[in-house]
Subunit: 462 residues, 2 copies
């Protein structure tokens, strides 16, 4: 173990250089123009895993390929499946980046690039720890499998099928995912809950072409006005979603959770300052952390209609559309929520307006067992690498595959986040602290040892 | 007069070719990139007027130049000021045009191009009629002045100042404007009323950058949701504007108008079919024509926020904006309506959201005296050229300068529309029937004669 940790300490620069090469590839999964970059990003990490000594395969998913790698020579030891993703969010708005999104740049000991934390940077910590074990000790204390996909940012449309078709291949005791965040700088965390997602795009169409708003205004329904009326009524001024039945299945926050969260060193003024707003917002009966982690939402992610150039154009637009997504909490059914949203829209269409509503992804929320052996091992590994016991938190984001792993493989996922909440994921100037990157790598290396020890000590803890 | 009409009949092709040259210049006034095209369009028509025998000046307005031309050798005859504009609307969405917007193309005896009717094509009928009189008779029966500006589509920001600073120069008995439409094909019309306009752009800003909607959703106000809430509440599902005080000054429709309009051969099914909608829409207590001509509106002209590309992006957008315009009717005060709209927006901002609201133009509605000598002359000229008495109508669009002429020069404007309501002005595939173009040219030539006769017969009718 000492050799592993020394390897990681002494060769930090090398790890950063390897990560940079990955971050330089603009693997934007939502944009068909980047198809070849997706392949390049998959091949890049496949090559590194192969060179480290793993058996690697590029799996055809029907969409962007998934990278699978395996080292399975630890007999009678547990098996861990590391899941990550090599695809990234679009870099828009590009002109707000201080350095180009696909030219990884280090400023103040942080690396700036699209994907720096989400998820190339965090995923790479596990690749690096396996490299370190194999380069020094020549073996791993547990069996490790990697599944690194290329469609996470578009809702992982092919991953569930891939997992269902490869149950034996992916069989494991735990999944490990580093795609969340620490609670705060210096406060490492394990995430035991995630919100789900319903992502819809609503297209309204009215007249077959844009019309002169003077000639026709008042006599033909305007799709942009109708869209505003629908979306404007969908969420009230305090964040309560108005879709009928939306809250029917919502699981209440448990008393121990409210207590745990209220003890966390949450800096509301710091959050306001970071966001650049003079006030936070949301359901008045819940704390800010509860709103972010345990309450469902409905946010407009994009609006498009009519003339968007400089100055005035007096038209009734022919079309108006919105991207709208709901974050879900445990026990809400994504299919039911999507159906209720569709009905909500259709019931509010004005005469002469038609709607098309498409789904860009549905995923349920998940909650993990906070007392499992895997959780105990992860807490120890993190405490050693970060010098502090991790706190137990939930997360507002969605990692749909975690629900799939639970359902298909029957295992919990250890969500071990090395990033920070202000790392600008999905926004301009995404970054990752190089210290967090390094500590995450150490924690990963230690996790393999702690898991082996826990299983060794208890027979089969599982 | 016979010679004039023969000239116009025999040289129709030449008139179309001259118009084509003007239409080929992409004089989009709202887009700074087209500055040189604006100058080129002004120079093009200036040259034609000069060649015809008028004294021409290019007037510096502080914005795009205005073309002024004058022929003043008809002693003791009335003076007419022809107002038109050489600027055009943006051609967006360009990919919906069947032929390029600035390559004038004739299909089925109609000319297709941005500006074909609005307003180059209609304005050119008066240029052509003056050409014909001077080329054949060598003189005009009335004094004619032209004022052709380049900022009509952006709300004529410099025209009022220009008129106020040149009262002597623009002095006239009537203004003549052809920038409206016939009531229907074969049903020529004189427009005696126009709606006004308040055009605002509303910019909302929230967090200083786009945020991950999972990490922050529920705890920070989303500018796109707030914008939808504001705009969605501004107009109800039947087109009634909800801004407090909006209807306080609205002048009711007079009984003779309701009667006149109800006699018009209005084809509601034809309008639905033309627009491509299965139902019309609007205030239930008013007919479709009344809604379009005599009732105020509030239409969203454009919406912009967040991610507008293909697929999903899970963000809370940092900003959201809308272009919103109200059509006003007589006695509504544009300044007061704009102020009320601003207040309406500001009162509905959520915590953490800021608003900036800018005006892209304010103009009052206008109503003309339907019994003036100028109106009588115009009715005769149109009846002769079109073979049918014109109907008296109002128009839903706005020509702000008409109010300025009334206030500053003290004269009524004769709104003589040669176009059709389905000419796609402000939309893709704008067109102008070549027959309407020709009849408009004849009517213009006859108008000079009718005006001279009317004044000659009655001494000074004015």
């Amino acid at each position: 173990m000492e050799r592993v940790l020394r390897f990681l300490e002494e060769r930090r620069e090398e790890a950063v250089e390897l990560l940079k090469g990955w971050l330089a590839i603009p693997s934007v999964s939502t944009d068909p123009a980047h198809k070849s970059d997706l392949d390049a990003a998959a091949n890049y990490i496949a090559r590194i895993l192969e060179d480290a000594g793993l058996k690697v395969e590029i799996l055809d998913t029907g969409g962007h390929p998934a990278v699978y790698a395996e080292w399975s020579q630890a007999e009678a030891a547990p098996t861990v499946l590391v899941y990550g993703h090599y695809d990234v969010q679009p870099p828009d708005p590009v002109d707000e980046w201080l350095s180009p999104p696909f030219e990884p740049t280090i400023r103040e000991n942080k690396i700036y690039a699209r994907g720096a934390t989400d998820d190339k940077g965090q995923c790479f910590t596990h690749v690096r720890s396996v490299q370190a074990w194999l380069a020094t000790v020549g073996r791993l204390p547990v069996n490790v499998k990697f599944l690194i996909e290329g469609e996470e940012e578009i809702g992982s449309p092919h991953l569930e099928g891939l997992v269902r078709n490869n149950v034996e291949r992916f069989k494991c005791d735990y999944v490990v995912v580093s795609d969340t965040a620490q609670f705060a700088p210096g406060v490492p965390a394990i995430t035991y809950g995630l919100r789900g997602l319903v992502y819809a795009e609503i297209f309204l169409s009215g007249p077959k072409t844009d019309l002169h708003s003077g000639v026709f205004g008042g006599a033909v329904a305007n799709p942009a006005n109708n869209l505003a009326a629908i979306l404007g009524a969908m969420v009230d001024s305090q964040g309560r979603v108005q879709i009928p039945g939306f809250y029917d299945q919502v699981r209440p926050i448990e008393p121990w959770e409210r207590e745990e969260f209220s003890r966390l060193p949450f800096d509301e003024a710091g959050m306001r300052n970071y966001l650049g707003v003079d006030a936070l917002w949301g359901e008045p009966d819940y704390s800010v952390l509860e709103r972010r982690w345990c309450r469902p939402t409905c946010d407009i992610n994009g609006l498009t209609s009519g003339y968007q150039g400089v100055g005035a154009k007096t038209i009734i637009p022919a079309r108006a559309s919105a991207k709208v997504s709901c974050r879900l909490v445990p026990d809400q059914d994504p299919q039911a929520i999507f159906a209720a949203m569709q009905q909500y829209v259709r019931e509010r269409l004005w005469p002469g307006i038609k709607a098309e509503i498409v789904s860009h992804g549905l995923a349920p929320a998940v909650l993990m067992d906070v007392k499992s052996p895997g959780m105990r091992a992860a807490r120890k590994a993190i405490a050693r690498a970060f010098g502090r016991e991790p706190v137990l938190i939930r997360e507002g984001g969605s990692i749909p595959v975690v629900a799939t792993f639970k359902e298909v493989l029957g295992v919990d996922t250890l969500l071990l986040g090395w990033g920070q909440n202000d790392d600008n994921l999905h926004a301009p100037n995404e970054k990752f602290s190089l210290d967090d990157f390094h500590r995450g790598t150490l924690a990963s290396a230690l996790l393999w040892e702690e898991l082996a020890a826990l299983y060794g000590a208890t027979g089969a803890a599982k």
